[in-house]
Amino acid sequence: MEINCKGERIILDEERAIYLPDHGFLVLSDLHLGKSAHFRRAGVPVPATIGINDLSRLSFLLERYQPDCLLVTGDMFHHSLNSDIAHFADWRKQHSALRLILVKGNHDLLSDADYAALGIELHSPSFCLGPFCFIHDAPKCTEEELYPISGHIHPGITLQGKARQKLRFPCYYFGKDFAVLPAFSLFTGLSTIRQSAGDRSYAITPGKVVAV
């Protein structure tokens, strides 16, 4: 689905990432690489397949949009270096030409050297492009002129159907003051957002993005 925001074209992909065709930027948030291994280390058996699947979804998006740059608005890594990150390092080698920008989030706790080794360009607290300020947590944005696009909260929306049916989906949120991207990783929960007048939300239903 393509929308217009602050005069810019934005494509909302059903794989939980946006593409800015005028800049060649693919933007996503909350990749949480290493989360499954972090759970395993603590004795909770989460298969690594889930992180590997996230990476192949990412490869698919690179194939689809052929972006010049991949921008992650925070929480690219979950906590620390572990075996999941090794899978990512392999993946990075296959996409070595890609420019990769990370706006640091609360879970991004690796050392600067580790980021450098993985070919990641760091920005903190934000990265600005056109009318947008990409930042992990929107309320922390200090750029008054720009429209913040953020992540962090893993937005979800509840759709109510007839006969008391309720379904919850991850969503894109474009509010009056800021926008929030859905968490890219499938191993993430949802925090339900409430819409106010003037807000636009786009639910990511299986295979399709719909405006609600």
């Binding site: 759970f39 395993r40 298969p47 690594a48 699947n53």
Partner: protein, 827 residues
């Protein structure tokens, strides 16, 4: 022989000095105990069932010529398992009194979630002779290092209120703990501890014994008291039938009727079915009789412990005139001043009703008095049915839980946190329990893999670390973090995310569900513990409130209050409908609502117990189909979906569904094709399992069940009410795990358990199949009434309830009643 036993003589003379005499069943229990039996004591409350077992090991020890050498470690002789913490205090008090009078130097210790760390440490250094404990604390004991030697001198394990534990995973905790303790004793060539249970009358008492003592080679027996507890059951009838609404669930307009009952009784317990209802009744009673202020209290599971303790003490001392409570006061705490019980609304089952009745007139040969307060007209039929079922001792069975792999997973980690375990040895012990006697070796291996290497998908579980094999060959948890987190989560009761409620000025009031508070704005008022509170802010998992000046406020609706009608009660209920149209019968309740049945018969039909009534009603809302199998709301939920699905195969049609304990409704915007032939087809037991799977969203239901399973098996850490989750990086939801396993690990045993629980507990497939067979042999009566009938009306109202607050609903009900009656007159 018991009578020659020196210990028995001592007990007997002690009793005689207090002018007491043992009941024959107590003597039988002592005799069997001394002979080495395991068993189950079945006695009504108030007849000293505690003494039937507590005195047995005492008698035995008086008989010993030489006392075995005692060390501070192996003093423990008797473990007394109780389901409720509150019970522990009470029983402990009684035991200590007797021991003092008998001049015995045995110590009684209590161990549960309330026990202080200092006390626990003291117990670790030196156990008391008698330990009163909850199933969860039992497992915490097993999770202690060096726990094995404390059981060496243990002679007996008693599971008190075993009927309460039997039907839940907490019962499985008890089974597993017993299997470990006696397994350890076998290995050391020590005599095994005798295992005894105490149970109220339930439909499957033999099975209850079998679950507790599964080995058929062991001597086991049931000791029945053969004492009948006299119970008087009265229904509270309104002055006229019109006062009693056709539907609703609060019954508040009958509150005045309670005042004379409370006044003429010493102390009254008023039971409601939900916590929200208890809060509303509390407000209402104070309005009706302001003199009750200070003499009335409200008691339920969300109220602060300290406050509950205070209420319980005030009940003991007789300082309170009445307490409005929920199942929180169901169990056998003996409040002597209580001489009257009131049940508000249907108790849904015979056993529950009798248990609540037994809260009054607790002493032997005293009569229990219980008043039934109907909240709507048809509940009077239930009152008549319950009376009959109680007379005939037609009491529900409690189905024991089997193959709950989540509980087993937790238990194995518990052992690994403690002294570790040997897998062959523990497998044999686990297989010896009733719950896991059908466990397959591959299922066991799967669980071992789950806690040791994570799972079977190759390479997917790198770095997984939980239970590892130690150098001595035993499986252990070595990470202190993992061990600590596990200890915090032992148990099988999973609650919703609860927030503490505190005054800004300080003072803790109780707990409410997070979902309830999230709907309120600062400045809104709600009631808790009988107080009207104004929300100030939510901070750090704590709800800060101040006193509100408002007179009225909404009550929090805590989840999980709605129990389905039991199948025993359902069948007696069908029989009562049979009798309802006879003008002269002994039940005053049926005589009272006779006009309502006349109306049902005039506008539609009153179903006999060999009939299934179906009403087709069309109005401006659409086309309704009502059916009344009287099988309880859970069965109706599935049955409704099944019938809807089968009808939609005949012609594309979609329905919305509503149900209550008596029947269900299908509502469509197009005409429903229906006649007798179709009726027998859609209520057929043929292809039941396949059609259920197709008709209901079993995945969604399994996902809901998985919430508990994920907590119990240690996948999700729920944290403590009011406490921050210890490690934010490890936060995740059960739903997420459900998806992950469904996508990447289909053979996951816990996932399969979720589906099994859906089919057996939630869908009650066996009960559903039985109902369909019964319907096939019944006559199906189809009527087409002009407007809602007395039977269909409550279902309609129930479907509205989900989307309305209680007050709006009451108003709506009044209007709908008027409409139904007006339409009728007009015709």
């Amino acid at each position: 022989m018991l009578s020659n036993h020196p210990g028995y003589k001592k007990i007997k003379s002690w009793l005689r000095s207090a002018k007491r005499k043992p009941f024959p069943f107590q003597e039988r229990a002592w005799e069997k105990y001394l002979q080495g039996f395991n068993g189950l004591v079945n006695a009504p409350t108030g007849f000293g069932k505690t003494f039937s077992l507590f005195l047995a090991p005492l008698i035995e020890s008086f008989g010993l010529k030489e006392l075995p050498r005692q060390t501070s470690k192996n003093r423990l002789k008797l473990i007394w398992i109780t389901p409720l913490r509150a019970l522990g205090k009470d029983i402990g008090r009684a035991m200590i009194e007797s021991l003092l009078e008998l001049e015995m130097n045995w110590e009684v210790g209590i161990r549960n979630g309330d026990t202080t760390t200092a006390e626990k440490a003291r117990q670790k250094r030196s156990m008391p002779e008698i330990l009163i404990i909850t199933p969860e604390s039992m497992h915490l004991l097993l999770a202690q290092k060096g726990s094995s030697e404390i059981f060496e001198g243990l002679q007996c394990i008693v599971a008190d209120e075993w009927h309460e534990l039997l039907g839940s995973k907490r019962g499985v905790l008890v089974e597993l703990a017993i299997s470990r303790i006696n397994g350890m004793k076998r290995k050391l060539n020590l005599p095994e501890a005798r295992v005894w249970g105490i149970s109220a009358t339930i439909g499957n008492i033999e099975q209850a014994l079998e679950v507790l003592v599964p080995d058929p080679k062991k001597p086991r027996t049931i000791v029945r008291a053969e004492l009948e507890k006299k119970i008087e059951i009265h229904s509270i009838l309104p002055d006229n039938l019109e006062t009693l609404p056709w539907a609703g669930h609060l019954g508040l307009n009958m509150a005045e009727k309670l005042v004379p009952i409370i006044n003429k009784s010493r102390t009254t317990l008023i039971f409601t079915n939900t916590r929200g209802q208890a809060e509303m009744w509390y407000q209402r009673m104070l309005q009706v009789d302001p003199d009750l202020a200070g003499l009335l209290a409200v008691h339920h599971g969300s109220i602060d412990n300290e406050l509950r303790g205070w209420i319980e003490d005030a009940l003991h001392s007789g300082a309170l005139k009445a307490v409005i409570c929920t199942s929180s006061l169901d169990l056998g705490v003996d409040f002597k001043p209580v001489d009257t019980v009131v049940q508000v609304g249907s108790p849904k089952g015979v056993a529950r009703f009798l248990q609540r009745a037994g809260r009054s007139g607790h002493s032997p040969f005293e009569t229990s008095v219980i008043y039934f307060m109907p909240t709507h007209a048809l509940e009077l039929v239930e009152a008549a049915a319950i009376k009959e079922a109680a007379r005939n001792q037609n009491i529900e069975p409690r189905e024991p839980v089997i193959l709950s792999f989540d509980t087993l997973t937790q238990y194995l980690v518990t052992l690994a946190v403690g002294d570790g375990f040997d897998d062959a040895e523990t497998f044999a012990e686990v297989q010896g329990t009733h719950a896991f006697r059908d466990i397959l070796p591959e299922e066991w291996n799967w669980i071992m893999q789950f806690i040791t290497s994570g799972g079977d998908t190759l390479g997917a579980y790198e770095e997984f670390k939980k239970v590892i094999r130690d150098t001595d060959g035993r499986w252990k948890v070595t990470s202190r973090m993992t061990a600590m987190r596990h200890r915090l989560h032992i148990g099988t009761i999973v609650s919703d995310a609860m927030l503490k409620v505190k005054f800004i000025s300080g003072g803790y009031i109780g707990m409410v569900e997070e979902t309830f508070i999230s709907k309120l704005k600062p400045g809104d008022s709600f009631t808790l513990a009988g107080r009207i509170l104004e929300l100030a802010q939510v901070k750090d998992m704590t709800v800060l409130v101040r006193r509100s000046k408002k007179k009225k406020a909404i009550s929090p609706s805590w989840n999980g209050g709605r129990l389905p009608l039991s199948s025993n009660l359902g069948s007696v209920l069908r029989k009562k409908y049979n009798e309802a149209l006879q003008e002269n019968h002994p039940d005053p309740e049926l005589r009272f609502i006779y006009p309502l049945f006349l109306r049902q018969q005039r506008t539609s039909h009153v179903p006999k117990n060999d009939e299934l009534l179906i009403e087709l009603i069309s109005n401006k809302e659409g086309f309704h189909l009502f059916a009344y199998p009287f099988e309880g709301r859970l069965v109706h939920e599935v049955l409704a979906a099944l019938v809807a699905f089968r009808l939609s195969r005949l012609l594309p049609i979609s329905f919305s569904i509503a149900m209550n304990d008596y029947g269900f409704e299908l509502l469509s915007d197009q005409e429903i094709p229906f006649d007798e032939g179709i009726a027998y087809d859609v209520f057929s037991p043929k292809n039941l399992s396949e059609d259920i799977t197709l008709s209901i969203n079993s995945t969604e239901m399994a996902r809901r069940k998985f919430r508990d399973i994920a907590c119990i098996s240690g996948l999700v850490f729920q944290g403590y009410p009011g406490k921050h989750v210890a490690n934010r990086h490890l936060q995740s939801s059960a739903g997420l795990f459900f998806n992950v396993f469904a996508d990447y690990d289909k053979h996951n045993l816990l996932l399969r358990q979720a589906y099994d629980e859906v089919f057996y507990d939630q869908l009650e497939e066996p009960r559903l199949a039985a109902a369909l067979h019964r319907i096939q042999d019944s006559r199906i009566v189809i009527t087409e009434p002009q407007s809602f009938t007395p039977l269909s009306f409550p279902i309609k109202v129930d479907s509205l309830r989900e989307n309305m607050s209680s007050e709006e609903l009451e108003q709506r009900v009044v209007r709908m009643t008027a409409e139904a009656q007006k339409e009728d007159e007009w015709k």
